[in-house]
Structure formats: C-alpha cells, structure tokens
Amino acid sequence: MTSLAIQALSKNFGGLQALRDLSLEIQPGERRAIIGPNGAGKTTLFHLIGGQLSPSSGRIYLFGREVTTLPPFRRAALGLARTFQITTLFRNLTVMENMLLAVQTLDSIRLVLYRPLTSYRNVMSQARRLLEQWNLWEKRRVLACQLSHGEQRQLEILLALAPMPKVLLLDEPTAGLSAAETQQVVAMIEHLDASITVLLIEHDMDVAFQVAQRIAVLHHGRLLAEGPPEAIRKDPTVAEIYLGAE
C-alpha cells in the first residue's frame, strides 16, 4: 500500500492556480524530495497534505484512507507530522516543555486535568531520551525563542518526530542554516527510522540529491519531472527551468 497518495490535486487562490492536477504516490519508507523554483506550489502542496489548506479539487489518501477533508489534528492521529517553512515552536516555553507537549500526545493524557504532567515518568524519560539523542538536553531550561536558528530547526524536527509519525513532511529544513548546521540536520534526516516516509521540500540541491531516493520537480503548479536523482540531474527540462533557456 502507498503511504501517501495524491490524486489530481488542484488549488486556486482566486485567479492564481497554485497547483494544477497534481498526482503523486509515495511508498512506505521512501525519502522523497520536492524541488522547484519559487512559486512552484511546493509549500501549498504541503499545506494541502497537512490539512492547513483544503484543495479546490482532487483527493488525498493516507495509507489508503481518504483524508481530503480531515482537519490537521485528525491527520496527525493517523501518523502524519510536519515542520513549517517558518519555524513553528512554542517560543515562550522551555525546550523541555516543548518536548513534553509533543511526547505526551503518545499517551492519550492530553485531557487529564488532575495529575501533574511531571509525574508521568514515561513521558519525562522519553522527552529526555530524545533531547539527549540530539544534544539539546543541556538546553532543556532555555526558552525555545532563545535557541540559535539551527537549534530551533532541530527542535522543530524533534517535535514532529516525538509522536512517532509514519509520514513526515519537512518544509525546507535547512533554510537559512550555516553549512555546519545543514550537515547536522541532514544527518538527523539520514538517521531517521527507515520505516518513516519522509517528504521534504528543499532548495539546497546538494541536500536534496544527498537525502532523497526519488525527486519530484514542480513548476508553475504542475509536476514537471519525477524520478531518481541521477535522472533528474540529467533531465534537460529541469536544467532549463533552473538555469534558464534560450
């Protein structure tokens, strides 16, 4: 079964067609990059898959189940997680509190009113384990807004990972990062559990070719090309839109 399937998806903003008749199928455990010039509709596609926007037409399936009209939190329950192009954290909470909010979703204790969160040992130790694994444990008492940009990106990926998703959407995870920070995030993506399906939007071609098994190229809201990195690298139409053509 495909983990994520998109059928004939279109999205119009007034007169602007951000996505036109787009179809994609992504297999479980696949690492898929979406590339394309600015305005190609990449982030719109993510908002449609995540449920932040609803499509003008077309359908979206998660593990064979149609989710086209489900709100984001219902899709999360089916195993979908995402990061945003603009880092979206709980800025005025500490790193530990950020993690706790993500980890406690695993335990169905979200509506428990009468017991301190800190008394749930499994939640506390799971949050600690994740933070230690990604070298953020020392910063657990720092407010999220006081972290460096790179650390914020890492924390956002951690927040998406904590609920143990089956499909992970990463919207430009390395945007604005230094070369060293980029390598850290790339290592993080490469070390993800092989069963997780990863879909990422990437502007950095090196990163996209390094991480992805397959690449889809969007241009003006349409799927221009799709295939393994070597094929995309050689594709003349892709070179044309990136390098310009005569």
Binding site: G50, F73, A81, T88, F90, L93, M96, V112, L117, L159
Partner: protein, 322 residues
Amino acid sequence: MRRRHFVLGIGLVFGLIVLAVAGRLSPTYYTGLMTEALILGIFAVSLNLLLGHTGLPSLGHSAYFGVAGYTTAILSLRLAQSSWVSASAGIVVSVSVAAIYGLLALRTAGVYFMMITLALAQVLWGIAFGWRSMTGGDDGLPGIARPDLGALVPWSLQSPANFFTAVLIVFIIVMGALSLVVHSPFGYALRGIRESEARMDCLGYHVWLHKYVAVLIAGGVAGIAGILFVYYHGFVSPAELSLVLSAEGLLMVILGGAGTLFGPVLGATVVVFLRNLVSGYTERWLSVLGLVYLLVVLCAPNGILGAIRGRIPGWLSQEAEA
C-alpha cells in the same frame, strides 16, 4: 527539586496561617477588604486561565460572575430556596452560560474574541438592567442572607471574621484545584495553544476542545467568586455583570502577572486596597490605579509576580524539569 517543593510548601502553609490570623484579628474594615480581595482574586484567577494560560483575551468575564450572583440572589429571595440549592444553581447556571457563550465566542480569535465576549456579557447586563420585575433593574436585589450552616458547623457567617474564614477555605480549595489543572497535561496543552495553535494542531491536539473545556472551568470558577461576592455584600446589581468589572479583572491579571498562579490574586489585592484606601484621601483613585498600571506595564511587563520570578531564575517557576 524535591527540596524546592518542600520549602515552597512550608512557605505556602505559613503564609496562609498568617493570612488567616491577620484576617480574623484585623479591624472589621480590613477583614472586609481582605475578604473582597480573596473573592476578586478567585475571579481574576479564573480569567487568568483564559488570558494567561490559553491566550484568550476575554472582555466579558463578568458574565459568569454576575449570572451566578443573580441566580443565587433570585433563587434565595424570590423562590425562598435554601442556600445550598441557590448556590449550587448559581454554579450550574454560570457553567451553562459558559457552555453556550463558549460555542459562540470560540469561533473567533484575537480582537474579535474580545468583541464577541464583550457583546455577550452586555446581553446579560441588558437583561439584568431591563427586567425590573425579576432583577430589580438598576436598583439591584438587596437583602440576600448569608448561608446558615445550621447544625453542620456551629459558626455563624454573619460575623465578618467567620465569613472571611469561609471565603479563605473556598479560596484554598479553588487555588488547589486550579494548581492541579495548570500543572496537568491539559494545563501544558493550554499554554501550548497560547504559543502556537498551528503546532498544537499538527501534533494532534483537538485545540477547540481544549479551549472549550478551559472556558467551562473559567466560567464555573468565576461563578463561585460571584456567589461569594453576593453573599458578602448581601446585594447584587448590574455592576456585577458590567464591562467595568470585566476590565478590572483583566487589569488584575496583567498587574499581578498573566500566566502565573498567584499573580492575579496579588493584582486583585492591589486593586481592592487601592480603591478603598486611596479613595479615603482623594476621589481620583482611578487616576492612581491608572498610574500604578502604567508603572507596572512599563517597568514589569510580565506583572508584579512575573518580575519577581524573572529576578530569581529557577526559583518560583513552574517550569518542568526532569
């Protein structure tokens, strides 16, 4: 961590004992002020659950305070119900109003949320003002007797000291319950919603449901404060449903420290004492309150308690540590 909790616990118990003794032994006038500060403190704390924790700026919180007060007053005066019945009904009605108002108001956010909560509270104010035969109009309803505890407790709540003690007991129970709520997974989720609804949504939280439950709890607790207020004064009027009270509530929360547990109580105390002590010297006590507010907002934007907490890192903070 353990030791810190122990020290905090001892400090809290000690503080409450001092408060209880001071309240009972002070001259009647000051006992009265402390009673009112505790009652409005409960009101401010309930508003803080929405404003400080969930990030919902309600400008109509007096609706729950007043509707509980009016329910209690009308039941005990017009239907001669026992105070157990009329006080319980007051809480039930305030939670029910919160259930309806929450459905309407939570369709909006930000400034629109302020406007719709204001409008909804004004509806109740208009009913209280206009329905003379039932509510007494702008004269209000005087002569509401304090509960007679009967054989249960040999105290009479007629004495100011005993009424103060009763209010203090309710206050401790409410604060204990709310302390549990803000430290629970649900309480963390509320602060998550304040910081980023989009992120909470992606994490799989039913954001609307969390907000709705917060509105119900805040409405019920504000109702408790309203009932105590009506018993304290033996009187209820449209002022208890007014925009002025809602705005004062916001002022108390911001003065004391939004998002802290005890800050709003501090804010309520400052407002009550300023109003009563300064108005003895000048009619312009509101100007003094305004100045205090300006000073706090400029010098300590996180409120009085927020500023204290900022000075002592790691101390008095409710942040989670492992």
